[in-house]
């Protein structure tokens, strides 16, 4: 199985007529069994189509055309309009919103996340590339064009979560080359506040029959790793986790921002070395190099089998 999405997931693309969204739509239609993109939304563009996907002015029109609830939405609209687009999707009954847009102010992100919680919906991102279930479906730009995504991702037992979209693919490709496939890979987003953190997705991976191990890519900034370490301690460590920490050099430069918006060392707990210590204390292995990850996953899996 997988988490969040499967072959039957229906979704729309908000901002579908934008340049990157047109590409993303093509990629998702082509990948795996072919995504069920049941509509696109761009205000004022009703009646057009993008690679055969009908375009509507509103989410409500897309829902009406589909004739029933739509599972998800990929939101690619500019930052100033994202909050409204996400509210519209959630008000329209969508339960899974993948926000691709970057540079959205935190107050807007927090409002969207809160609105989602009120409606029992989930947000992935913002500033993310989405979700991929290898050979089945991808929702978002993750992995790129179908033929490129097919090179990097393969089905298997490893769940991948990453604050960097590109590193989701880099790590999965390294796993694939070593013969370790992925159950689901999620680009969770690089901002200071995101819809779904590592710990919030862990319960889904733990309940998934296919997932046997987790690999996370992480960076300085924020407290999400501490939250994950606490989750592991409180939930009896159901899945072995291997982590990779980038941006170790930032420890020497507090107050400077590099990489993603969420990657700024503001306090002692934000540093790479502090996070590595926390993860290690929770029994999470921290790899020094990406290429070590497959062997670390294998030895963790072997330990569990032996026990």
């Amino acid at each position: 199985m997988s988490i969040l999405v499967d072959a039957g997931t229906t979704f729309i693309v908000q901002g579908i007529t934008g340049r990157e969204a047109v590409n993303l739509t093509r990629e998702c239609l082509d990948y795996g069994v072919g995504a069920s993109i049941v509509g696109g939304v761009t205000p004022g563009r009703k009646g057009r189509d993008v690679h055969g996907v009908p375009v509507f002015d509103t989410v409500a029109q897309a829902v009406e055309h589909h004739g029933g609830p739509i599972d998800g939405s990929v939101v690619t609209v500019p930052p100033a309009f994202t909050k409204d687009a996400v509210f519209e999707a959630i008000a329209g009954g969508v339960k899974l919103v993948v926000i691709v847009t970057e540079r959205i102010p935190r107050a807007d992100v927090a409002a969207m996340v809160e609105f989602a919680a009120m409606h029992d919906a989930r947000i992935i991102g913002p500033n993310c590339l989405g979700i991929i279930v290898p050979d089945v479906i991808k929702m978002g730009g993750i992995g790129g064009p179908a033929k490129d995504a097919a090179k990097a991702y393969s089905p298997g037992p490893v769940g991948v979560m990453s604050r960097s979209g590109g590193m989701t693919t880099e790590i999965s490709s390294t796993l694939t080359a070593a013969g370790l496939g992925q159950s689901t890979a999620v680009s969770i987003g690089g901002d200071a506040i995101i819809g779904s953190t590592y710990a919030e997705l862990m319960a889904l991976f733990a309940a998934d029959g296919q997932t046997e191990a987790i690999v996370i890519y992480t960076e300085p900034g924020g407290r999400m790793e501490a939250q994950l370490a606490q989750w592991v301690a409180e939930n009896g460590d159901p899945l072995p986790i291997v982590a990779f920490m980038a941006g170790r050099f930032m420890d020497e430069m507090p107050g400077m921002s590099f990489g993603h918006a969420g990657t700024i060392v503001e306090g002692k707990e934000d540093t790479a070395s502090e996070k590595i210590a926390r993860l290690a204390a929770a029994g999470i292995v921290v790899a020094e190099r990406i290429e070590e990850i497959p062997d670390l996953v294998r030895s963790k899996l072997a330990e569990r089998t032996a026990a």
Binding site: E20, N23, P79, A80, R103, I104, P105, R106, A107, A110, A111, V113, E114, F115, M118, G141, I142, G143, G144, P145, D148, A149, A152, S162, R163, S164, G165, G166, M167, T169, E170, S173, T174, A177, G190, A192, I193, T197, Y217, E219, R223, M224, Q227, F244, A246, G247, R248, F249, G255, M256, S257, F258, G259, H260, A261, G262, T263, R289, I290, E291
Partner: protein, 400 residues
């Protein structure tokens, strides 16, 4: 983006929170004028974006305007932690009965703002939280529903404050909470929030930080405060090299080729994307390489942008070669970056094969990209070469 104290106090004042009397001055003469306006004992405070002003001598007291001018003249020349002051704030001294603390910050895990309040103001809230946790009140609040007075009241009352102080503090904290949300702050702090002998409250010092991503929607306020668009207000101001990097990035809206940070090494880096840049920078250093810069490319930049960034890095004094490396790309095209960096070498009169230590960008359009690189004899690598191995080759190509 961090505001200076004088700007922070102006933001607080505009939100309807009383502040101590005073004003900003850039010269000793202006400081004298501010002191005359206040008309009584004043405090002269250095306006720098760093802590430790008091210890460094950046805060002085004066009873008369002439004395204020003398202090201002000295403080304006005083460097604090490597920062020269932008000016001084000349504030009227107030008779403080008690100091309080009021602040709002983000709680990234709860994904909501959290209001903090203490009846032990004037010192760092972290210190109070550690030593006297029962003197710190906390309350998360919604970003969807409007902030209501009772939420502030609960936080204030939770540390045992009652009576007129409670009713007078409530609107101040409510305004602070609303200001935090409306102005896209990441930190809004009044410390100390002073209670005067007559029972009224004034903000004596304030510290505000606005989210960079939201600067666009507060253009009017920023213009009023005189904050320039080029001011990053990071831990240090941007160098000319970094500003040139931002200009490359701003030349068109396709993708990113910027976020340049200057270092003093001899290996130029043209690397991406966000996570890839962090990983590669670590790896280059781990192999003994001396980066001349940090940067990010991604989001499918144009040939012109990739070329502009490569040129900038190649022209940086001391740079011997550049390494062009990214994690596997999904929407950035390998061939476009390849063309951009080769064009940069050729236009500067260099052989691409001599100047590019390694090109490691696998992913979309890689066959086309690798063909171009081969034609120019540039050493390149595909996804079978790890980021770490690529960084090692780059470091070895340019011995420190």
């Amino acid at each position: 983006m961090r505001f200076y104290e004088y700007e922070s106090k102006e933001i607080v004042r505009r939100a309807g929170i009383p502040t101590s009397k005073g004003g900003f001055a850039k010269t000793a003469q202006e400081a004298r004028a501010r002191a005359e306006e206040v008309g009584g004992p004043v405090v002269i405070k250095s306006q720098v974006l760093t802590g430790g002003r008091m210890k460094a001598g950046g805060v002085q007291f004066a009873d008369a305007p002439d004395e204020a001018a003398e202090h201002a003249a000295r403080i304006l020349e005083l460097e604090i932690n490597g920062h020269m002051p932008r000016g001084v704030l000349v504030d009227g001294r107030v008779e403080v009965a008690q100091e309080y603390y009021a602040g709002v910050v983000w709680d990234g895990l709860r994904k909501q703002p959290v209001m903090l309040f203490s009846d032990m103001g004037g010192i760092d809230i972290e210190e109070v939280a550690e030593r006297h946790p029962d003197h710190v009140g906390r309350g998360h609040f919604s970003n969807v529903l409007p902030f209501s007075d009772f939420q502030a009241k609960q936080v204030i009352a939770s540390v045992g404050v009652t009576g007129r102080a409670l009713t007078r503090l409530t609107p101040i904290l409510t305004r602070l909470a609303r200001l935090f949300v409306q102005r896209d702050m990441t930190l809004a702090e009044i410390n100390p929030l002073a209670q005067l002998a007559d029972g009224s409250f004034v903000a004596v010092d304030a510290h505000m930080e606005m989210e960079n991503e939201a600067r666009g929607r507060h253009a009017e306020l920023l213009a009023d405060l005189g904050v320039g668009e080029e001011e990053t207000r990071e831990a240090r101001e941007a160098t000319p090299f970094e500003i040139a990097g931002e200009e490359v990035d701003a030349q068109d809206h396709r993708g990113v080729a910027g976020n340049v940070t200057e270092f003093d090494g001899n290996l130029g880096l043209v690397i991406g994307a966000g996570g890839g840049s962090l990983t590669l920078f670590d790896a280059v250093r781990a192999h003994g390489g001396k980066p001349a810069n940090y940067c990010e490319i991604g989001g499918n930049p144009s040939v012109a942008k990739a070329c502009g960034l490569a040129k900038l890095v190649l022209q940086k004094p001391g740079v011997e070669k550049i390494a062009v490396m990214m994690s596997i790309v999904s929407n950035t095209r390998v061939d476009i970056v390849a063309r951009g960096v080769i064009k940069a070498c050729v236009e500067l009169g260099y052989e691409p094969a001599d100047k590019i230590a390694i090109f490691r960008i696998p992913g979309a359009w890689e066959e086309e990209g690798f063909k171009i690189l081969e034609r120019y004899g540039v050493p390149y690598a595909d996804r079978t070469v790890s980021l770490n191995e690529a960084a090692k080759r780059a470091a070895e190509a340019v011995p420190a």
